[in-house]
């Protein structure tokens, strides 16, 4: 049994395992910072710490507009870093066997499993892949 937090970016529904999430925050002022790659929207002050915010829509190649109604702050092991998403939905529980691995598919980045949740396709977001890509993004610098 896995607990997942589903969220929407663009027209897709993704999900994160609940154990990876520290907090969901909203209406936070995002402060832009100099020299950042464009997928980094800026940073928020989170319990006295500076936490960078990723523009997930931009990262996943959706049309960007109003970003970051909701911010999902990941656990400290992951940075900490916050993901700006369009909408966060209620937590769901799934059986492991409801998920199906998908092959590496260039068109569907950052997804490692897909779940059929009552007829709706929910993509499990791949944080490890994100971490690897972030490292190379930050090293090149933005512009």
């Amino acid at each position: 049994m896995k607990q997942l937090l589903p969220f929407k970016v663009g027209y897709e529904t993704y999900a994160l395992e609940l154990v990876e999430v520290q907090e969901v925050v909203e209406d936070q002022m995002i402060h832009p910072f100099p020299g950042s790659p464009n997928v980094v929207a800026g940073a928020i002050g989170f319990h006295g710490r500076i936490v960078p915010v990723l523009d997930l829509a931009r990262l996943l190649g959706f049309p960007t507009g109003k970003m970051g109604q909701r911010l999902i702050v990941l656990v400290n092991r992951r940075g900490p870093v916050a993901l700006g998403v369009d909408q966060v939905r209620a937590i769901i529980s799934v059986e492991i066997n409801q998920t199906s691995q998908i092959d590496d598919d260039a068109e569907r980045k950052y997804i490692h499993e897909v779940i059929n949740w009552g007829g709706e396709m929910v993509s499990l977001f791949d944080l490890d892949q994100l971490q690897v890509n972030l490292e190379s993004l930050c090293n090149q610098g933005g512009g």
Partner: protein, 612 residues
């Protein structure tokens, strides 16, 4: 729990005794009949032996015991020879490695074979000076090692080696060689030559070229890195414990007491809604927090003494190896800096001192390290009275490398010119180490200094020597910044990076071609727009124009911002990895009103552009 606590204590104390041993040894080198020094050395070895035996670290105890025996002999003799000092320094290195083993919970390495290399008895050896260690090149440093062995039958090996050295110089820069060219000229050398070459050529290419010389029996490339690792353990961040004086701890207790009183006072005010006293209570709180902050910073402060010991060891080893006579002076080792800064700067300072020995001092001279405080900064200066740098040659090199254009080359001041040796491209220039008296690896030094918010100044006069000064903040965490505004966003620059902030009238701006310039003091500075650098939309014309005079790539520039907000002290947080890799931003701070202000790192932004 108790065991690990003892282990920590043992490691800390043993490391201290070891450091003292090394310090005394280096001192004894200049005064080998200092009885008190020898006695002190004996006591240090004895302490280490005792501690190691108690903790059942048998190998360490065995080696310390052996040292004790040798030192006892020295006591009988009343003097210690230079050769013996070198042996004991080697032994100290082995003890250090043993400490590493214990720290990493590995079985101790055996000291049997090391002890076997030491002669059994200490005679009243006469120092033979140089030539003692025939082939043992600096195992630390950059470049690659090449070992050449001539056929036994070759006559006049010195002459052959001189020819080969000259040929090798065509491939790159010869950083050092054993024996050196001077030694070869004097004759009496063996048929083996070890060269450290800084070259862009591939190893097998060099190998192929060298094999054309039939008198060579063998050409090999000893592995640098391995040897270096084995010889000198890198000191650094491993000491995680600090010693705090009980006096300071008492201060903390007292402060905690006062804070509790203050909390009660504020709770009372809240309960009684006695707002008149609120201001008083908060004023009290502000005073206490400031005091607490000050004390905490105090705990983080360490003196430069440990670092000075390390540097004198470096000078000792290098001068012995190159047969140079160098007096090493340290002044102001009691100056204290945040431990994080001291840790960051250890490697760069060792490098600067090594440069001074290798390239500054020709045969004999003085190297001095001085530290002093100037307001909220600490200055550390490494100076030598060696050959100095030749501004003309650097100018030529910079022109050839395209770092300056012809006009710049004419107008640039010496001071700015010397900064160019810190450019990554400059240091590897062929022959630079020889011609300028400086060069290798200065870019690394400069980067490290700037990372802790400091700046590096170079001053040199040909024939009189070179002075390199580091201006450093006292503490890493809390720094003074200048806050500026640009496109509605506030940003900060460390005050150490700001020369001055001024406002100028639009008619003071002149244009030279496409570049806008401004007259500042007695020079013309290029004007750069922060909006443009950060790719922000162009703003409305400004009058007056706020300008931050700062240094970029070793040159003064006027940075145009929208507004100068003011200075303040802030607590800087590094961004979490990997965001700390982003160029242009070296951290951030959360202001009282919740706004996040980022620290601008223009230097790295510009470096990125250059790389593109």
């Amino acid at each position: 729990m108790a065991a690990s606590k003892f282990k920590e204590m043992f490691l800390t104390e043993a490391a201290e005794h070891l450091q003292k041993m090394v310090d005394i040894l280096v001192q004894l080198d200049s005064d080998p009949e200092d009885r008190e020094g020898i006695d002190a050395l004996f006591r240090e070895a004895h302490s280490i032996k005792g501690m190691a035996a108690t903790m059942e670290h048998h190998q360490m105890a065995k080696l310390a015991h052996h040292l004790e025996d040798r030192l006892d002999d020295c006591r009988q003799l009343g003097r210690i020879s230079g050769v013996e000092i070198d042996r004991l320094l080697d032994a100290a290195d082995v003890l250090e490695l043993l400490l590493d083993d214990i720290r990493n919970e590995q079985p101790e390495r055996s000291v049997e074979s090391f002890i076997a290399t030491l002669p059994k008895t200490i005679e009243a050896e006469v120092d033979t000076g140089e030539g003692e260690k025939s082939v043992d090149l600096a195992v630390n440093g950059c470049g690659q090692l090449i070992e050449l062995r001539l056929r036994e039958t070759v006559a006049a090996p010195e002459a052959r080696f001189l020819v080969l050295l000259k040929r090798l110089a065509d491939f790159g820069t010869i950083l050092e060689s054993t024996p050196s060219a001077d030694d070869l000229m004097q004759g009496g050398c063996s048929n083996q030559l070890l060269v450290r070459l800084d070259s862009d050529m591939a190893q097998d290419e060099i190998h192929r070229e060298l094999l054309k010389y039939t008198e060579l029996q063998e050409v090999s490339f000893p592995d640098n890195a391995e040897k270096e690792k084995a010889k000198r353990p890198e000191k650094g961040t491993k000491d995680k414990t600090v010693r705090v004086s009980t006096e300071l701890l008492d201060h903390f207790i007292n402060l905690t007491g006062e804070l509790i009183t203050n909390r009660n006072q504020l709770q009372n005010i809240l309960k009684e809604r006695n707002w008149k006293e609120l201001e008083d209570g908060i004023g009290q709180l502000a005073r206490l927090v400031k005091n607490l902050h000050h004390q905490v910073l105090q705990v983080r402060m360490v003196s430069l003494e440990g670092l000075a010991g390390r540097l004198s060891r470096t000078v000792h080893d290098l001068s012995r190896r190159h047969g140079k006579e160098i007096i090493f002076q340290v002044d102001g080792a009691d100056i204290e800096l945040d431990r994080a800064i001291v840790e960051e700067l250890t490697a760069p300072l060792v490098h600067m001192v090594r440069n001074a020995v290798d390239h500054g001092i020709e045969q004999s001279g003085t190297i001095s390290v001085k530290a002093w405080r100037e307001r909220a900064q600490v200055l550390v200066q490494v100076a030598d009275d060696g050959r100095g740098m030749d501004a003309e040659k650097i100018r030529q090199q910079a022109l050839e490398k395209g770092l300056l254009n012809a006009v710049q080359a004419k107008t640039i001041r010496d001071y700015d010119l010397f900064q160019l040796i810190c450019q990554p491209g400059f240091s590897t220039a062929t022959g630079m180490g020889e011609t300028s008296g400086r060069g290798v690896g200065m870019d690394v030094v400069k980067t490290a200094v700037e990372q802790v918010g400091g700046i590096l100044l170079i001053d040199s006069i040909p024939g009189e020597g070179t002075k390199i000064t580091l201006k450093l903040p006292l503490s890493l965490a809390i720094i003074r910044v200048l806050i500026v505004e640009c496109d509605g966003t506030r940003m900060a620059m460390p005050i150490t990076r700001v020369v001055q902030s001024v406002e100028i009238a639009p008619d003071e701006v002149q244009s030279s071609g496409k570049q806008l310039m401004v007259h500042y003091q007695d020079e013309m500075l290029p004007m750069l727009s922060l909006r443009k650098i950060l790719k922000l939309p162009q703003g409305a014309p400004l009058d007056p124009i706020p300008l931050v005079i700062t240094e970029l790539m070793g040159r003064k520039v006027g940075l145009v911002v929208d507004r100068l907000v003011g200075q303040r002290e802030v607590f800087v947080q590094r961004l979490p990895a990997p965001f700390d890799q982003i160029r242009g931003c070296s951290g951030g701070t959360i202001l009282g009103d919740g706004e996040i202000v980022f620290l601008l790192d223009l230097q790295s932004l510009f470096e990125r552009r250059r790389e593109k």
